[in-house]
């Protein structure tokens, strides 16, 4: 389940209104308007900053949808 916090960070970074955009566990980056490879790095940095965590490049690589990204964030926060 995607937290409102994660959704808000993503939407903020892409200047999207969270109430008008559907983002769920299965959502992949290319389905979200504005989330391309160049913006991807900015979104990851924004998530790291907001949660106070740090991802390794290879960890991100394994996230093939937003659900996996949420799991990664959760695992870091609980460490």
């Amino acid at each position: 389940m995607i937290s409102d916090r994660l959704k808000k960070i993503i939407c903020n970074e892409l200047y999207l209104d969270p109430s008008s955009i559907e983002i769920n566990d299965e959502t992949q980056a290319p389905e979200v308007p504005g989330w391309d490879s160049l913006n991807h790095a900015n979104i990851i940095v924004a998530i790291e900053k907001d949660y106070g965590v740090r991802f390794k490049g290879l960890e991100i690589l394994k996230c093939n949808n937003v659900g996996a990204l949420q799991n990664l964030v959760d695992s870091k926060v609980s460490d």
Partner: protein, 578 residues
């Protein structure tokens, strides 16, 4: 240094065969994977597998001169398949694997447009794409004979003596002056221009660029560049392979998600040479944490070549400052200028030197004159793309195509032994850019000082995002169909993003809508329209009716309206990017 005159082989196939025989156990391609061990092809194993693909291709009916489109993701069998196509005199043409954001209809339309010019005869792809591509192949109007999935072929099968003889007969007929590959120069869906290059053109380029790079047997190229891009295909694949040195190939999709992969491969394999577009200098310097860099050494990297989009002095500076402590040498910062039409390179920083930088008066430059200036408020630092390589000529011309002194600003025009002979099945486009004496008009603007070429802009409105060329017309076409936009009252243009070290796509559209909520929704609809053609629109500017300034042709002027937005003087402009 490699003595290119001593290397045998007048066609690419003969050259690869020469290395398979003389250095069979030397690594040819290291297929890098993020979490698994790399797959290592030696010259002999690569060549043997290529032979097997050649037999299959011959058996399904591929003939000399046929164009074989390759639409395959990062896969170790891509390389022998590519060689196998060339091994029967057919032309490999690497196409981009569709991004999930690209609508299947748009992908098919792109193929139709491409087939029209390039004359695609066969499509070699993955099973996953069957459903998407089949309607195109089954269409009566298509040039394509058949769709095949070569990654499913049984490569354990032994080659019989009859096939060996047939292959040998076919190969004896392949001549150096005949076409070897087809690459697409630039552009988005359907607007790519097909460039055919001969064996001779490529091998001469391998020699001329190899010489200026001072290639030696100890070199090793590392690359994440896609192979449908000339920089990836020629620079990071053909040049090393035809010089007898290894290349490390990283998946571009994986690299953009995990940029550290480039440095992991560099460090572990002791890579010495790499080409990347300017934005990648910024991305690597900004995004890699010290934690990720732990244990990484960049000492082996002797040339990191900035190419594919305008070179920025601040990107070089930032990169060097960030990675000096990891062994990165300042002298490795070099630049190259080139294009698919000249096989790849036109100029390259002289070996042993760092890319030169000069500080010139910005206003004088805009008016067409190069005047040195130290006044920081008025100066623009230009980075040289190096000296012209051997067997290549260059001149600077004015708008009437008259040659002007090199230190005046004008269009860059080139001629080389590795030049294309015109766009395939596109005579009207060829006539626009190639004159009767064989000079190619690049559309790029630049000047020459002390034999160094400086590229500072473009004649046309092409937008270069992270090394990819995007035509504003493509973006305008799809956005024009979005509801609530006044038809025809829209422009797309490139907006500088100094932080990313590249350009981003921006759109200005006229609309009668007035509320914040409506603007928000329209913006998302415009972003989605861009996604259909795989273009990420970064900034949307919504303006009231009759806001856009028209050019003399009656259409909205890209230049004038872009300037109005950049000046940020108009309060009637709505955008989210403040």
């Amino acid at each position: 240094m490699i003595d290119f005159s001593s290397l045998e082989g007048e066609t690419l196939w003969e050259r690869w065969q020469y290395f398979a025989q003389t250095t069979p156990e030397k690594e040819a391609i290291i297929h890098w994977r993020a979490v698994e061990e790399p797959v290592r092809w030696t010259y002999s194993s690569l060549f043997e597998t290529a032979n097997k693909f050649s037999v299959y291709l011959k058996d399904i009916g591929v003939k000399k001169g046929d164009v074989c489109a390759l639409i395959i993701r990062h896969n170790p069998y891509f390389y022998p398949l590519y060689l196998g196509i060339a091994g029967i005199g057919a032309l490999p043409s690497v196409l981009a694997y569709p991004n999930p954001r690209l609508h299947p209809d748009k992908f098919r339309q792109g193929l139709v447009g491409m087939a029209l010019r390039s004359g695609l005869d066969w499509i070699l792809t993955e099973i996953e794409l069957e459903e998407v591509i089949l309607p195109f192949v089954e269409d009566d109007a298509t040039t394509v004979n058949e769709l095949y999935f070569p990654l499913e072929w049984d490569l354990e099968r032994e080659i019989d003596s009859e096939s060996i003889q047939e292959l040998s007969d076919i190969r004896a007929e392949i001549k150096p002056e005949e076409p070897m590959l087809l690459q697409h120069s630039s552009g988005t869906t359907g607007l790519q221009k097909p460039v055919v290059l001969t064996h001779e053109a490529i091998l001469k380029h391998v020699k001329n660029l190899g010489k200026v790079l001072n290639l030696s047997d100890n070199d090793k190229v590392v690359s994440w560049l896609p192979l449908y891009h000339d920089l990836g295909l020629i620079g990071a694949f053909h040049i090393p392979l035809a010089s007898g040195i290894p290349s490390i190939q990283i998946d571009p999709f994986e690299w953009i998600l995990a940029p550290i992969l480039l440095f992991m491969a560099t460090s572990e394999e002791k890579a010495t040479l790499c080409w990347i577009p300017n934005f990648a200098f910024n991305l690597l310097a900004d995004k890699l944490s010290t934690e990720e860099m732990e244990g990484i050494s960049l000492e082996s990297m002797r040339l990191l070549i900035n190419a594919g989009e305008p070179v920025r002095a601040e990107s070089h500076k930032k990169f060097h400052e960030r990675f000096e402590k990891f062994g990165f040498k300042k002298s490795a910062l070099t630049a190259m200028y080139g294009m698919a039409e000249t096989t790849l390179g036109v100029s390259q920083t002289t070996f042993g030197e760092q890319a030169k930088e000069i500080s010139v008066d910005r206003e004088m430059l805009a008016s067409g004159t190069v005047v040195f200036s130290d006044d920081k408020t008025k100066a623009r630092v230009c980075v040289s793309s190096g000296e012209i390589i051997d067997e290549c000529s260059l001149k600077i011309v004015d708008e009437f195509r008259n040659e002007i002194p090199g230190d005046a600003v004008g269009e860059i025009v080139v001629k080389s032994v590795s030049m294309f002979s015109g766009y395939r099945n596109y005579p009207e486009k060829t006539d626009e850019v190639l004159d009767k004496d064989g000079w190619y008009y690049t559309g790029d603007i630049g000047f020459v000082v002390d034999e160094d070429l400086y590229v500072i802009g473009r004649k046309k409105d092409i937008i270069i995002v992270a090394g990819n060329n995007i035509y504003p017309e493509d973006v305008e076409d799809v956005v024009n169909k979005v509801e609530k936009i006044i038809p025809g009252r829209i422009i797309a243009f490139g907006e500088d993003d100094p932080e990313l070290g590249t350009e981003q796509v921006s759109v200005i559209a006229e609309t009668k809508l007035e509320t914040e909520d409506e603007f928000d929704k329209l913006r998302v609809a415009i972003l989605r329209a861009g996604m259909e053609v795989n273009v990420n629109i970064h900034s949307v500017y919504l303006v009231p009716p009759r806001w856009l300034i028209k050019s003399s042709s009656g259409k909205p002027s890209r230049k004038a309206n872009r300037q109005r937005i950049i000046n940020k003087t108009d309060e009637k402009v709505w955008s989210k990017n403040d």
